[in-house]
Symmetry: C2
Subunit: 235 residues, 2 copies
DNA sequence: AGCAAGAATGCTGTATGCAGAATACGGTTG
DNA sequence: CAACCGTATTCTGCATACAGCATTCTTGCT
């Protein structure tokens, strides 16, 4: 499957691509690059919610003409990150508290399904990989290194979904996750319940190792509820 | 929420828009119209899976220049209905049997969630509306009028999701449903288990009326399994 | 005859130009 | 002083133009 061939947006710190990107010479087209770039600008807050996007301005800023930029905006509009009003241009989507709550509910359901499937389909090496990612995440937590922690956190969720082997699930999960990335990014700014989130992640690894499908599904769904509790006061 | 503001694609018989389009003067932009039009062309098979889309040709055929057409293609690529290879243009996405299976699994999960939420949030009038749609659908079934039956069938599913009140759910459901529309359209061509599908829909109304959340969730999830059984030999 | 290299053609990717709508501003009037 | 209307400017929407790459056909060589 894979409707979205571009990488999932990065955290906005480094370049868009993973370092081990090799593959059969994928010529990144300009509008694809712009999609990633603008997505990052939205996630890191440079383009704040509700901001109107002036095509000429942003285009000049990115060193790109209006054409590929407009194409990128259409793509992002389909993802739901921006809204287009005919004749009035593009606006960075505003997510209400209810939008976020709704998204987390759906995400919980999707990851729950992913967890059940992953427990069935995961190879031992895949489980080990997730465990390794988790270990690195814990290290970042102990070093209080927020950005890498945040990235690894997201990657673990994505990995579990990928292990499910269901491409449609990967796709829609990616869409919702992209919409929430900005919010979760903010949610991890505060110090409060950071430890709790790490503990919950700890369980994922344990349950995946035990291939406890229902347990993992419950844990992932619960994680979304807990995430809501952590972020709901900030939106 | 609502990332996708355009209408869900039509059945491919008539023009994309309803004739009574009035509303608060929404100036339909050209690329939006093209999105709907091309989506319909894919669903009704005019643009078969694997077909390469020549921008100039299709543009001339639709009476549109390449610019809005290309913008529409980017949008549809994000939806996952077509694939873009840099330098090589757009191709109508081919869905493998596994893709369809995966999509139905996700759709079952999403509609299951929608059913649970709908049983809680539905107003009596909304339930009556679904029941009325179902009655019309049964009438079309008895008249063996396939196209309206097919449309109403889809609308009922969409209605239940909408009643859930979860906009994120509406969005992702819409994406998966759009991808499957072509397949389901084919699935209802054969006469075999048409009656069975109608019976399953009958249950939806009964369970929704009874506000049996878990029952409706199970019925909707099961409906997707059954749908797979009905279509799996045709893909 | 088969293969390879080069040329030619067609298509995509991007930039620019132009027309029409939306917004902002200033002047006028109640 | 406020509200409204007309004008000017800016921005979007679409079309067209141009450059570069991909593909195919042709031609020369083995």
């Amino acid at each position: 499957m894979s409707g979205r061939t571009d990488e999932q947006a990065t955290d906005g710190t480094g370049p868009a691509r993973a370092p081990d990107e090799r593959g059969p010479i994928v010529r990144q087209t300009l509008h694809d690059a712009v999609v990633s770039r603008v997505r990052d600008l939205i996630v890191d807050g440079t383009l704040a919610s509700g901001t109107r996007i002036h095509e000429s301005n942003l285009g000049r800023e990115l060193g790109v003409s209006r054409t590929p930029l407009r194409e990128a905006l259409k793509y992002l509009a389909s993802e739901g990150l921006i809204e287009l009003s005919p004749g009035r241009g593009a606006v960075v989507r505003q997510f209400s508290a209810k939008d976020i709550r709704d998204s987390l509910i759906v995400l919980g359901e999707l990851e729950g399904l992913a967890g059940r499937l992953a427990c069935v389909h995961a190879s031992e090496s895949q489980i080990a990989e997730v465990a390794a990612m988790h270990a690195r995440m814990v290290a970042m937590y102990e070093a209080r290194d927020r950005l890498p922690y945040f990235k690894l956190n997201q990657e673990i969720h994505t990995a579990i979904v990928r292990i499910s082997g269901n491409e449609a699930l990967v796709d829609v999960h990616g869409i919702i996750q992209a919409r929430l990335r900005r919010i979760r990014y903010l949610g991890h700014q505060g110090p409060e319940n950071w430890a709790q989130a790490v503990t919950e992640h700890e369980q994922f690894v344990t349950l995946l190792r035990a291939r406890d499908a229902d347990g993992l599904a419950r844990a992932l769904a619960h994680h979304m509820d807990a995430t809501w509790e952590r972020v709901k006061n900030e939106v």
